[in-house]
Symmetry: C2
């Protein structure tokens, strides 16, 4: 029977580490959230961010502004030295205009890693912002949360001997290739040495060593090879991943809010991680601290 | 009866100016176009770009690359000192991934002005890239083409006495608020002093002096006040702007490939500009020269 990892437990460990670092700071660390759309999931995420900030000692201020006033409000927060991190709850316009907002947040305060400055670094596998390699680049919260959970599951062999590719020789299957999670996650896992089969409605792609290509492989073939199976399909049309499809002992992780594995998956999986949510918030807090250390300390 | 402006005539004048400047350069000015989707309008646009480049003496090279190889191909062109301008024919993925590609093009070679570096400057009305105000910021081709055509129509009072707001006191109506044309154009016209009523399916907004707000006004009310009427609606559902709706003498311009005004509009308009296409290409050539002068000369 699979070991089930509760992301809440791992998140608690990360929050504890962040809290210890925050306690050492001599100025109050401040994160501002912007809520501009009447959207229940965004409000929920804002509530979780506040609870996380309260837990680790980061000041959190939620600013609810009309979406047409959001750009000016972000400019103001960018310019305010008392604000160290900015978080915007998407979608706002739910059009290409959201991409403009993402790039408007100063990358030095963009704790979500959505500014094209960070996105470019991610896809180019540039891990440090400085030549001395003292300041790590920022990674987006949910993909980072997934990787930290895989690490907690023992799927990454982190060591001095891993040569920076702790997933060397591992095969990963991801169902989701969104710009927010699936594509950056596939790239990050490939940067860590894995062969990643990325599935979405446009068909499978192989991410390997900084290269991406279309790749003819069926879901059944890919799953039969996978050491790690990651799902993030927000649709009830998706055929749930069932026990006979996966390798016994595979690590299975779902980041969708819908169930993407059959409930019995734990009978075959080695580790099952049914959700990611609390770890996404923990990574947002960790990123806030990292940006402070990189740019504002 | 309205004066009808053929954008081809104005474009010819601009191409002549560009050709004169290009002839003075001591190195060949080179523009690379990237075509990655099997899309007839993109191929047509590429053909027009090549014809325009041939006309003004810019070297044009079309690179047809698989869309999954496009990012690496752009990286290579960014790094190649022999390439001065880059143009990408969109859509490619037709998802948020296209925004990643737009930001991947080095802003110093981004002749379309789509990189967030240029977009941010546009919305902040920052007109120069240097403190000495010797290097003008880049503006996106179609909105710039529209403004140059309005200038040719006599709608902008360019003079030393215009205080940088040559549209002061003018009212503009635009039907289109896309991120590619309608929204930047509304902002640029407002930066030039106009009151701009921007209409799209989400309702009207008022752009004025760097501010944008929702504004309750009907199409009829807005059109009855407009000195300039700009249409760019790619839908046959759009009720054509008819003669009784506009002010006699108004400047009317359509940048959609579909007709958006009734054919009789010329009986009432002061100037009618039925299309923009050739001027968009001319502005792409002009932008190539500008980036060369700003960054590569």
């Amino acid at each position: 029977v699979a070991r089930v990892i509760d992301p809440g437990d791992i998140a608690k460990d990360f929050r504890k580490q962040v809290a210890q670092q925050v306690a050492k700071l001599t100025v109050p660390l401040k994160l501002v959230g912007f809520l501009s759309a009447d959207n229940a999931p965004s409000q929920t995420y804002a509530n979780y961010t506040k609870a996380g900030c309260d837990d680790v000692g980061i000041q959190y201020e939620l600013r609810q502004v009309n979406k047409l006033a959001l750009a000016a409000a972000i400019d103001e927060a960018n310019a305010d030295p008392a604000v160290h991190g900015i978080m915007v709850y998407y979608p706002i316009f739910a059009t290409d205009q959201d991409a403009y907002i993402k790039d408007l947040v100063d990358h030095r305060k963009d704790i979500e890693g959505l500014n094209s400055y960070w996105v470019r670094m991610l896809y180019h596998n540039q891990r440090y912002v400085d030549a001395a390699k003292s300041k790590q680049a920022l990674l987006p919260c949910t993909p980072l949360a997934v990787i930290k959970l895989l690490e907690a599951a023992g799927a990454l062999r982190r060591s001095k001997a891993d040569h920076g590719v702790p997933l060397q020789g591992q095969t990963v299957v991801i169902f989701n290739r969104s710009e927010v999670v699936g594509r950056p996650l596939a790239s990050m896992l490939a940067n860590d040495g894995a062969n990643v089969y990325s599935f979405d409605i446009d068909g499978p792609q192989l991410f390997r060593s900084g290269q991406v290509s279309e790749f003819k492989i069926t879901r059944a073939e890919a799953l039969s090879q996978a050491d790690i199976v990651i799902t993030g399909v927000p649709s009830r049309e998706f055929p749930l991943v069932h026990c006979a499809e996966i390798r016994p002992g595979a690590v299975c992780l779902n980041f969708s809010t819908l169930r993407n594995f059959v409930p019995e998956i734990g009978d075959v999986a080695g580790v099952f991680i049914p959700r990611v949510g609390p770890m996404t918030v923990a990574m947002a807090l960790r990123n806030t601290l990292r940006l402070f250390e990189n740019y504002h300390a």
